[in-house]
């Protein structure tokens, strides 16, 4: 007999199917990425995938766990993809491999594997990379039509794997700082916002090209919400807090603080709101907890962007709020049936 205990029915939902939906929802954003920054990102994603599956299998073997059912849950793959999408697409191959391996081995399995990690594994990998390899982590490829020179796909591959650029091409010619980074640098030089935003790197809302990638992630995120893979709490609270913070500062001093929409469509805001902060394992289970968690992350993200040392803050905001999850959950226990209006 299949089961001895009720219930004898179950929804045909599986962890594997949920993770597949999330991977699927990343595709619009990835498509935009390829369109504006070239196919190098696909190579990073492939590298991350292979590394994630390989290290996952290895760790399961070492920990004496069944390999097949866990590999099929697609959670390692998702971690790999999220990391690959967070680091510069032209990053050398070993950066992706080292980062992904760190995510899976340390952030996931040393914490006890699927379901037990306190921190979002992809963001742990990202934080380690940006602290250890700051130079490589800031070489963002120029979007299509903006760089002085555009590399062919073959050139991109050669650079990623061998570190060789075509003759007479310097790294500076093909890369540039991210829109958030540029903004920060020029604000330090006391240039007014209006003048900064007139630079060719900026598009309609935020960075040229990167704003379109954000649109792609937003579309995928809305798909996940429509399919009820994620609830509205985290995206709304995260984006809402960023909007409110940015709005207040922008209204108070529009010459030095960019618009809320600029923040929404820059950096990892959309990816974070729908794909990173919503990682079920490392976010609170209670609805109120989710709101607090995401609002906290939004606040920290904004503070880092506006006043901190790093151009973007999603990764550190996620990790900082991850630490608070147990406490948040403890204080946001819902009132249960028959105890409403009474002390819990």
């Amino acid at each position: 007999m299949a089961a001895f205990f009720s219930p004898f029915l179950s929804k045909p939902d599986t962890v594997s199917r949920i993770m597949l939906q999330v991977l699927l929802a990343l595709l619009p954003g990835i498509a935009m990425y390829v369109w504006y920054f070239g196919p190098a990102i696909l190579v990073s994603i492939s590298l991350a995938s292979i590394t994630a599956l390989g290290t996952e299998a290895l760790m399961l073997k070492l920990r004496d766990r069944p390999v097949a059912p866990f590999l099929k849950d697609h959670s390692a793959l998702l971690t790999g993809w999220l990391l690959a999408l967070s680091i510069p697409p032209l990053a050398p191959w070993w950066l992706v491999v080292v980062g992904t391996a760190f995510c899976i081995v340390v952030a996931k399995h040393l914490y006890g594997g699927l379901g037990n990690n306190l921190f979002n594994p992809a963001m742990v990998g990202f934080a380690v990379l940006i602290i250890s390899f700051p130079a490589q982590m800031t070489q963002w490829i120029s979007p299509h039509g903006l760089g002085q020179i555009e590399l062919t796909f073959a050139d991109q591959l050669r650079y990623m794997f061998l570190g060789i650029l075509p003759p007479n091409v310097t790294l500076d010619a093909i890369t540039m700082a991210t829109p958030l980074d540029t903004l920060k640098t020029h604000l330090h030089l006391d240039e007014p916002i209006r003048q900064i935003l007139d630079m060719p790197i900026y598009g309609r809302l935020a960075g040229q090209g990167s704003e379109m990638v954000s649109w792609g992630f937003l579309a995928g995120g809305l798909y996940l919400m429509a399919r009820r893979i994620i609830s509205w709490h985290i995206p709304l609270a995260y984006l809402g807090t960023i909007f409110a913070m940015a709005g207040i500062f922008h209204l108070a001093d529009p010459a030095h603080y960019v618009t809320p929409l600029f923040h929404w469509f820059s950096g990892a805001a959309m990816l974070g709101a729908f794909f990173i902060l919503t990682d079920p394992v490392s976010s609170p289970t209670t609805h109120h907890g989710k709101l607090i968690f995401a609002a906290g992350a939004g606040l920290i993200t904004y503070l880092i962007r506006a006043f901190g040392g790093f151009p973007d803050g999603t990764a550190f905001a996620t990790l900082l709020m991850n630490i608070c999850v147990p406490l948040i959950v403890l204080y946001t226990q819902p009132k249960i049936f028959g105890r409403k209006g009474r002390k819990p």
């Binding site: 007999m1 299949a2 089961a3 001895f4 205990f5 009720s6 219930p7 004898f8 029915l9 179950s10 929804k11 939902d13 599986t14 962890v15 199917r17 949920i18 069944p66 059912p69 866990f70 849950d73 959670s75 594997g113 699927l114 379901g115 037990n116 609830s231 079920p280 394992v281 976010s283 289970t285 209670t286 226990q333 819902p334 009132k335 249960i336 049936f337 028959g338 105890r339 409403k340 009474r342």
Partner: protein, 557 residues
Amino acid sequence: MSALFKFHGGVHPPTHKTESTATPITRLPLPARLVVPFRQHAGDAAIPIVKPGDHVLKGQLIGEPQGFVSSAVHAPTSGVIEFIGPHPVAHPSGLPDICAVLIPDGKESWIEKVSVDYRNTPIAGLREHLRMAGIVGLGGAVFPSDIKLRPLRGHSIQNIEVLILNGAECEPYITCDDMLMRERAAEVVRGGEILRFMLGAGKVLIGIEDNKPEAIAAMRAAVQAEGLPFEVAEIPTLYPSGSAKQLIRVLTGREVPSGELPTDIGVQSFNVATAYSVARCFEQGEPMLSRIVTVTGNVTQPRNYEVLLGTPIADLLAHSEPKTDTRGYLMGGPMMGTPLPSTDVPLVKASNCFIAMSDALFPAPPATLPCIRCGRCADACPADLQPMDLYWFARAKDFGKTQSYHLFDCIECGACAYVCPSHIPLVQYYRFAKSEIRAREQDKLSADRARERHEYREFRMEREKREKEEKLRAKERAAQATKPAATGEVPTASDAAAEAQRKIQDALAQAKAQAAEAQPRNTENLTPEQLAEIAEIEARRARIRELAKSDVEAPKE
């Protein structure tokens, strides 16, 4: 039409109801032999009052209720009692229970049926009548109905404003209440009026899920025909809306406070089939002898039967022709039911449904994965619990934590496990934790008693020793001084002894109070159902112990 309310969570499993509602209720022919258990209700088993060889009439009392929570048992047909003793019953434990084996004579000769004019009989008499007619709740808990009609709190009678007739039948596959309401709505409604009268309730709400339009129409017609001011509420189909507390919430917006009874908020509820039995009991003078049961799933003839209690399940199943790939049966619905231990067991008052299982209908769930804390279980839980946390603590055997996360408010509906993408058998963990906690409390209780006895013995021996010494000394003193004043000292000594005794007793009482306080919460205010369940578990344990004892002692005899 009053407004309806919502409860948190709930799930929509496939209902599979239409298969068994295509044919009217079929009366099962008289089986060759009936096995009637003396415990078909929550509480103490009835005491057999017939012996092998006795001829009994249909409806004759064969088991007398004993104890407060108990109910009578009757001969379902006329015939001869062949045997009284242990026989396998449909209990998940698989242990046998005392049953009467009855060989029908085929005549179906009735006892003299006496109807009751309930409007001109004292309520207490009516309750006793129900108890002696074996009327128990047919919604699944088989709790004696007479007790539910005496809503006490402390010593005062509760004021019941609303009577709810539960026709929600939210479990997939089960359709016995649906068919009963379609075909015998008038009696259900009249039974409801009797229950309303006995409770003195003002309002009657009948809750039926909107996936039973025929039943709703039939009940509405019956209410109108009987000229009663009942309201038939069409409630949204959402499992587990048929669970008493959830249905009360949907119909009245009131929430039964945790650990209390519906009557504490002025509501009482009965299953529609129970109301039907009450009507049969008073109008026709018939005790509970049969019930309607659904046989469905992997069978060629899914339908509802009216079946005599005590009918062997194998006989019943044969009529529906199980298909060859049937690999077992469920009793009850797929969300809260249990596997049938064997088909060689009798149908009882609690049997509402049998489902033949095949791999196609009940595929093996995918492999269990770790909890990913996705929160789907919490979104589905009708008790607003955090099932993933309960699971975590139960698995870690941190039972204190499970209680502070309100384990005992879990109604074991299975909604959480139904939606879990990791396919964790969550309910199994909750049952495990609950039974562990109850067992520990029992052990603690008996340990406490043993300690008290021990302490008391020590105290008594001490006292006797002291009294002896006192007497001795008194005697010595009496011998020394011939003055009568000396005798005055004796009472003083015994005063000291009394003082010591009082002190010790105080200490004992204090210790007891402390122990009671230290007892985990949530186990106070147990409902009668829970008490009955505990009693049953205890009885089962006692039986196991007895079996074990007889095993050990057998060689000596």
